[in-house]
Subunit: 209 residues, 2 copies
DNA sequence: TTCTTCATGTAATTAGTTACATGATTGA
DNA sequence: TCAATCATGTAACTAATTACATGAAGAA
């Protein structure tokens, strides 16, 4: 069965999974995505309006139109076929983590800028980590005290939530360390002495440990 | 000075930074990107053919055409103006890390699949981490013994390299832990008891610590 | 001489983002 | 009754990927 256009991609299945949880209007979906899913599969809001239409075209969801005053409002609901398709997708491997990190790119090229820029860049990274950390704490508390949304999904949410907090922690710890390293640099970063000692414990590891 | 088309974006500056290191042919550039830069700013190879043209159009680089037999070969070199533009870009903030993680997305929806799928999914993540870990060890060793490429840039490469290894480590440790958690799940993941204890240390933290 | 891999690019297509537009609701 | 914000979407545009194409160099 060849599909002319609008084939399903990971973004489609990310949406389909949301519909497995419950029916949503696109607007509610967009809000919810910002909170959880968006941390693992970040996409702009306008995507969330297109994908459900593809799902409907493939018979994986149905759209229920209603009216709010004069305005249309569309609720999307997953179908049996949609649940099967989701199950099939879950059984296939998937790609590893892909990281896009502009702030770190600027550290990568820090030898073509000033020391002050490098110091500021690392501080930005620290700030990012602190911000995510606060968010993570608030969310963790809401689940520990039983007020978090979708408590019936808590078993999986604990796993992914723990990952996201671990990630933020790691970024924060790296930034703390990097700040101490850059502090020791001379004014011209090109003259900095490389801290090869920071690689020594890595170099001593056995591959495949 | 308004630019009709082809304005510069982060990808452009990522390329410009490469040219600051030395002149490259596009092919060499593509190979090199796979190794280092590509871990922080991953883009498909065909992009690497377009961006340098934009840089030339803006006067940030010059293209030197030569011939290899009957085939054209283009070497790109950064200009003075290009070095200034790179410096200006380095002085501006930049975005925090953006993560795209399909394998983890499947864990996020693991309650709509089988326990076996979840176990296999975590194993895939472990494999990814082990693979990156081996790579990181090899690269770290090459710098510790002084054979790594661009030794004059080692001061910054140590910083970004350490980050990438820390990231792979974190992913690996998470996967080891998650494997032990999922092991305890009943056959139907929907009946799994949430391991809220895994959030307790997070919940006890002070925000902004 | 033929095959394979390295080297060099272009074209077509798709995915994704930004900007815009506007009705409904609520509270001052 | 006005302003602000919530809710709902579309259209235009840009970025990025996939697929294709082919010459050069070296190995068998």
């Amino acid at each position: 069965m060849s599909r002319r256009e609008g084939d399903l991609n990971t973004t489609s299945f990310a949406m389909l999974g949301m519909l497995a949880i419950q029916p949503w209007t696109t607007y509610e979906l967009a809000k919810q995505v910002g909170r959880g899913l968006g941390r693992l599969w970040p996409r702009a809001r306008s995507n969330l309006f297109n994908e459900p239409k593809k799902l409907v075209a493939h018979g994986l969801a149905v759209a229920t139109d209603s009216q709010v005053g004069k305005r249309p409002s569309t609720v999307y609901t997953i179908t049996e076929k949609g649940l099967c398709a989701l199950g099939d997708w879950l059984a296939t491997p998937g790609e590893g983590p892909v990281l896009e990190f502009e702030q770190m790119l600027k550290i990568f090229y820090a030898d073509y800028g000033t020391k002050a820029d490098a110091v500021a860049g690392v501080q930005n990274i620290r700030d990012w980590a602190a911000e995510r950390n606060s968010e993570g704490i608030a969310i963790a508390r809401s689940y520990v005290d039983g007020t978090g949304p979708f408590p019936e999904r808590a078993a999986v949410l604990v796993l992914t939530g723990r990952f996201l907090v671990d990630f933020a922690d790691m970024v924060g710890r790296w930034a703390d360390w990097a700040a101490t390293v850059i502090e020791e640099w001379p004014d011209n970063p090109r003259d900095a002495v490389p801290r090869l000692d920071a690689l020594e414990d890595i170099a001593r590891r056995l591959p495949g440990d």
